[in-house]
Symmetry: C2
Amino acid sequence: MKESHCDVLIIGAGPAGLMAGNALSRAGVNVRIIDKRPNKVMAGQADGISPRTIEMLQSYGMADRLLEEGVQVHMLAFYNPRRDGKGVERTSRITDVNAPTARWQFEIALHQGAIESIFLEAMTKHGLEVERPYFPTALEISQDEAVLKDPNSYPVKVGSNTVLQADRPEDTEIINAKFVIGGDGAHSWVRKQMDIKMEGERTQHVWGVVDLVPETDFPDVRHRTLIHSDAGSCMIIPREGDEVRLYIQLAEGLEQGAEGRLDRSKVGPEKVMAIAKEAVKPWKLEFPNPITWWTVYVIGQMVASRFSAHERVFIAGDACHTHSPKAGQGMNASLNDTHNLSWKIAHVLRGWADLDILRTYEFERKKFAHDLINFDKKLASMFSEKAMSEDNLNGVVPEEFQNLLKSMGGLTSGISIEYAPSLITDNTYQSFAPGLMIGQRVQPQIIIRVADCRAYEMQDLIVSDTKWKLLFFVGDPKQSKRAAVVKRLGEYMQGPASFLSKFSPKSNREAAFTMLIVSSTPKDDADYTDVHPGLLTHWSKAFTDDVSVDRKSGGHAYETYGVLKAAGAFAAVRPDGYVGYVGSLEGVVDGTVDKYFSRFMKEQP
Amino acid sequence: MKESHCDVLIIGAGPAGLMAGNALSRAGVNVRIIDKRPNKVMAGQADGISPRTIEMLQSYGMADRLLEEGVQVHMLAFYNPRRDGKGVERTSRITDVNAPTARWQFEIALHQGAIESIFLEAMTKHGLEVERPYFPTALEISQDEAVLKDPNSYPVKVGSNTVLQADRPEDTEIINAKFVIGGDGAHSWVRKQMDIKMEGERTQHVWGVVDLVPETDFPDVRHRTLIHSDAGSCMIIPREGDEVRLYIQLAEGLEQGAEGRLDRSKVGPEKVMAIAKEAVKPWKLEFPNPITWWTVYVIGQMVASRFSAHERVFIAGDACHTHSPKAGQGMNASLNDTHNLSWKIAHVLRGWADLDILRTYEFERKKFAHDLINFDKKLASMFSEKAMSEDNLNGVVPEEFQNLLKSMGGLTSGISIEYAPSLITDNTYQSFAPGLMIGQRVQPQIIIRVADCRAYEMQDLIVSDTKWKLLFFVGDPKQSKRAAVVKRLGEYMQGPASFLSKFSPKSNREAAFTMLIVSSTPKDDADYTDVHPGLLTHWSKAFTDDVSVDRKSGGHAYETYGVLKAAGAFAAVRPDGYVGYVGSLEGVVDGTVDKYFSRFMKEQP
């Protein structure tokens, strides 16, 4: 029997697992990823990428290909029955994204296989490949408190094999891991091993999905379209090329066995296509081309009772939450789960932070999962019901349905996700920068690099490189008063007592931190040499608040983030791009910021 | 002795040759490219990419890597002697690009090797590799008029060999080509074979160039900086990473032999560095790091008397024009030479157009070369002279030098290049769209794709795919009057008598043309189904004039191009992105446009 060691073992190479694999391998962590499927997903499955997920993928340098290959969904069209009974009519078109600060004001539709291959390509660059087919066969976690509390221990043992039922033990590998991430889907094997229960309920909703290239004169076939028709409800989502995806709620097929499994003989793509064809009348919808992909399934609206066992085995993605496809949230939630988790594991493995920070994973992501499912319940029930009519006065009022979607724009776009105060998120001094909302991601803002007047998106400076971004809003250092403050900050940060020096290894003062300066000097007057070298470690890190040279973007950064130019502000942005701390510049030198980092960071020898 | 045939043989794999190689291989032309250098350029040499060149490369899908790898030069700083004699001071900073309609308001600095490798990578995708080392040894062109007038003949014979002096004829290959492009540099072998003379003069200006990473507190080291100092004139250009390029005009080293060759023993990088160090005082400029690349050279300001022999052998790039490096034009002129030439050769080879269109290459590019050299003379003399001072009242006035650079912004950016009326450029009806300037490139404008409300840059629709772009500005087809016009246009274009049908092979009505519709219906009301299918061959080709969904761009397209919504307009954009024809929509159906294309396009069987 082979026995091996790795720091992190990821089980399952779906979106959650690949996200973790990419983030951890990029960070140089000793990580493996196994999957029982012999091949990657080729078509179909989850396909919606929300605006926040685009921002997040951009922070890994992965948005370009997504934006190039994906379909952009800008508008959402609503269709309801005509009063004369002759089919449906468009009642409104609204923007598909309703989150004013989103950097990308659209969703992307792209099949899961294409998204996974973006990750696989990135991972390969970092030297990580998915091992497949590879089956986990047993999972044991140490019950010894001392072992569990030692960040260098390997408390998890995973038996695994290249064939499902290994007759011969010599084919089995025992992998000893410091951490295990189960991204193995709605029927998660890892979850079962850890005896974690799903809480919530299986619904009675059966959904059918078909991807194909239709022949149609329906004018909104390239927008996301929600149709309430007398024939049933239908959602259209544009896909790559001329393809579209049709979602239909089906009335039949649910044979309520012990497992609530579908009777697939009763529901097939023909049913979906037949209902869709009726639903879009009086427009034509024909299907001369073959189906690319289809499925039917019952929706469960459930959240796992726990997201981890002893913060050594974690579950993520569908393994800890399932919901309907209508809001297009599945893959987004999965990707953001492990985006949240990965930097924390990297911090612990490097000895930068205490094991305690790992508790914030469940704390932060479970609340989000519950919010999502609450919304999903409302949406699913309103979408399933028929529209209000003469015969059905209690039916769905079109405006109410539209308003629900609009009002939940912050949640469905991912933009307003806010992590509550915790060990790593301190909202004591929000008022120094009310526009840098503590617990939320940093909103987009163009600032100008002083040395070369090049315009930069602030979000592009907050890359997912496992480092904290320390933002110093210093005002105008051409003014002598502000210059004195900058000098004092520089001398402090340079000194041996600063948190930068304390929590960084001697060999690299910026190992865990990147300092970025945002001044308010007009770019025509500004010089990068105005910033004290203790604060400015390279010319490329001095920025100022001004419009870009082409005048098309930028300006008002201090207003966006709510910083007073005469006072300045300091912010610590977590490595996942969420604001962890906001406070005064004074707090940098007087120990307040030091106290914040001391809660979870470990002093370096 | 081997003998072979190819449609186009390119001699020289510098910028001009690679541009042609990429454009022609992308177009599916049977093309070869040979170079006598055993390896590609690795560092240094030409490095400036102008705004128009970025636009042009974008039309080939090649700007992304350039924008990612290159340094952006946004500002131009001027330094002049202080009145107190203690070194220089900054007298002004202006925008580096002074061309308001440029899509990218900056220049890119990137070493020639990196730029060449972008081309090499693109060419490889199209199946073309540079054959190197490969020496042309003889070039013969048929004198038989009948042969020269037959587009299918191979009137050019090129002897070539993998070693310079072939002792054994069995190593020689005779390449029979329909066309030859000589992109073989300032000392062009092809030019000499064709007995083409360079006209103009060798100057007395000796320039030294050094690339290195300096240690400095000079605040404008990341901007393009022009320094007139008592120690001499110096230009600083920021380069990749922390590197900078120093250009210095040297007083010595010019031993005026028969060839005007430099005495390299008298001029070296130390001289350049010593002058630069003096020129930036009172700032510090030290050189603790090794030199990456350096050169010294004498400037020639010359243009070839002819750019082709019988429109069968062409010369391009440095082979037909040389000038000073100060305006950063060398590589830009070279790339745009063969961009201009390639589609014309492709048209002739496919039998779409007459051989006559090839004459427009010299007609268009020679005038540009002369304009460039006239500017270069002014610039070089002003930059060489000392600044005005107590002792030198006739010296250069700083404001005049700055104004010269500003006023020539259209030329140096490449944005205002205008090709005069010719066989392929007809300015009879400019007034239907004064903003689509005939002979100039189409200026940037965001328009909205009707079917999915996605914002598109008009320039991105005018891709360099050797097709003509037919722009139909139809107004609002939701209005019955405009709808009737659209229907009439659709029926005409669909019919057998239209120029589309006449100049396209039966198998592909859009082989040489792409029709793009720009309506003026507000996007919330617009449906792509409003456009007659005779005009709209795919949903993706209907656009409208409106702001983008995120309201950050777009709108006023009709104003930008000067089109009246009630009248509409038609434009034919040449495959290189330059406007060839503008006129009324009426002119489409009444034969006026047909007459324009009939001047040079050949009716297809």
